[in-house]
């Protein structure tokens, strides 16, 4: 078990967004969280990566309580993320972005090795290495964001909607790469709008709705779940 989120509640200003959310990830597994717009998926990830303070509940990582650890310190423990909107540094080159991914002490010495691993995973990035990240296409930016996260040699990789704004043929490629990373030994937590496609790759999944975990289970348990359909349509 790598990540253990227990009963977190949080929000923005006075507005509560998450209500008692619990979830966990296992070693070498792909955990997917789906849910409609505004359900609180990104907010959940923000509490896990440390950008968002929790009101109640705790976050555990590899047996440590990290609830009040600042975001930058969590990276040193082996957590890395490609956040919502990718958040690359637009004025740095693609390679500059990747290299910064190896900022933490643990990763610096092997930065060159990690870089060539990322390039072999995403050959496109090697071609575009000296282009400013702000000028990459949506798909390339997503690869760079995942690559930057991998540069820190994480044990837990957190991805927020990697398929967003990407050409449909590329989506499959991204999901397949994610699956490959899992086989390589990573624990992955992935948020996706693209529920049906993402569930094909998941080992375990959570459905989030209006800030609450509605159901969780293996994809086959959830496949025919009425709630999955409802979760998507009840909001609109």
């Amino acid at each position: 078990m790598t990540l253990l989120v227990e009963g977190i509640s949080t929000g923005y200003g006075e507005t509560q967004v998450l209500y008692d959310v619990s979830l966990r990830t296992e070693d070498r597994s792909l955990t997917v969280m789906v849910g409609p717009n505004g359900a609180g998926k990104s907010t959940t990830l923000r509490t896990i990566t440390g950008l968002q303070r929790v009101w109640r509940g705790r976050v555990g990582f590899d047996g440590n309580d990290i609830t009040s650890l600042p975001a930058f310190a969590r990276v040193e423990l082996g957590m890395a993320s490609a956040p919502e909107g990718r958040r690359l540094f637009p004025l740095l080159t693609t390679e500059g972005n990747l290299r910064l991914g190896a900022y933490c002490r643990r990763a610096r010495d092997s930065a060159e090795d990690s870089l060539s691993q990322v390039y072999s995973l995403f050959p496109k990035l090697k071609e575009r290495r000296s282009i400013k990240a702000g000028r990459l296409s949506g798909g390339e930016q997503q690869m760079a964001a995942i690559g930057r996260a991998l540069m820190s040699k994480p044990t837990l990789l957190i991805l927020d909607e990697p398929s967003l704004g990407i050409a449909p043929i590329l989506i499959k490629e991204i999901f397949e790469t994610v699956k490959e990373l899992e086989k390589g030994g990573l624990s992955i937590l992935m948020v996706e709008q693209n529920a049906y496609q993402a569930l094909k790759y998941a080992d375990y999944a959570y459905i989030l709705q209006m800030g609450r975990v509605l159901r969780s289970g293996t994809p086959s348990e959830l496949k025919n779940v009425e709630e999955l359909r409802k979760a998507y349509f009840s909001i609109v």
Binding site: F72, R87, G101
Partner: protein, 294 residues
């Protein structure tokens, strides 16, 4: 032939002066570009650097080059003190620097500016002082170059290029650039935002105060409590010319302003030369608001 010599020497002197301007502007640029603080008290820290060089000369016999090094070291401490007393409360935990915190720091550094220049009158008196340092001249064709100004130019270029290399080539330097673009993402790659922002501020002050020491060579009798009122605007114009946050922009902006001022001085009184040079800002802001550097 004579006219050509005059133009060439104006150009050369303008470029040398511009390099020193570029240093003080570079200090401002780092703080403005990275922590988005428009430091109104910038000129007063130039003044502090200049007085530092003056007293080091009077009591220690230091020349301005040595004083620039000492000022630079002191500037690190001054910068950290400034960060943690003026900026930390505003920036801590922020994912973006809001307009509100920019206003808060603007007003508080304005207060600091008034406090420092008035305190300087009490501490240093209002008299104009200068440093006596003349290491001789060197003949360059038909030009006589003062060696003092030449050394200062070399040190100025060295300071700017070292800081550019530091920002480009080191992890922490890269993190400073990253912070100026996206504070949240900087944390997500594992960099401590407080460490990064305070270091950038410390470097900015170090360079500003070292620049104040270098400037004394160009103003042999002009160190005074209100000198900031001239050199702060010069720095602001240079940063805008070069483009805020663009580190090589300081050098290019400084060279431009130095040459313009020096050439203008051949035709109009000195004070008017500065006034006209500041006018440069208007077309630049109108046509290239991102600065002359691409």
């Amino acid at each position: 032939m004579v006219a050509l010599a005059v133009i060439l020497s104006d150009l050369l002197f303008g470029m040398m002066l511009g390099c020193v301007f570029a240093v003080v502007a570079h200090g401002l640029n780092l703080i403005w570009g990275v922590v988005k603080v428009v430091n109104i008290a910038h000129g007063e820290f130039i003044m502090l650097g200049a007085y530092g060089a003056y007293f080091l000369n009077v009591f220690g016999g230091f020349n301005p080059l040595l004083s620039a090094v000492v000022d630079g070291a002191l500037g690190i401490f001054v910068g950290y003190a400034f960060y943690f007393s003026f900026l930390h409360r505003e920036l801590r935990g922020k994912e973006r620097i809001t307009l509100r915190s920019e206003m808060v720091t603007l007003v508080s550094t304005f207060g600091l500016s008034l406090f420092m220049s008035n305190l300087a009158v009490v501490a240093f008196t209002g008299d104009f002082v200068g440093i006596n340092w003349s290491p001789g001249t060197v003949a360059l064709g038909f030009l006589e170059l003062p060696l003092g100004a030449l050394y200062v130019t070399i040190l100025a270029v060295l300071i700017i290029s070292t800081s550019v290399v530091f920002l480009d080539r080191t992890y922490i330097g890269n993190a400073i650039k990253a912070y100026s673009q996206d504070i949240t993402a900087t944390q997500l790659v594992g960099a401590n935002p407080t460490k990064v922002a305070s270091l950038a501020t410390a470097l900015g002050f170090s360079i500003t105060m070292a620049g104040g020491a270098l400037l004394t060579v160009w103003i042999p009798t002009g160190i005074n409590p209100y000198m900031g009122a001239l050199y702060a605007p010069i720095s602001f114009v240079i940063v805008v010319l070069g483009g805020p946050g663009k580190m090589l922009g300081s050098l290019l902006g400084g060279l431009t302003l130095g040459v313009v001022i020096d050439v203008l001085q051949a035709f109009v009184p000195v004070s008017l030369a500065y006034a006209v040079a500041f006018l440069l800002l208007i077309p630049v802001l109108l046509f290239r608001p991102e600065g002359i550097v691409k």
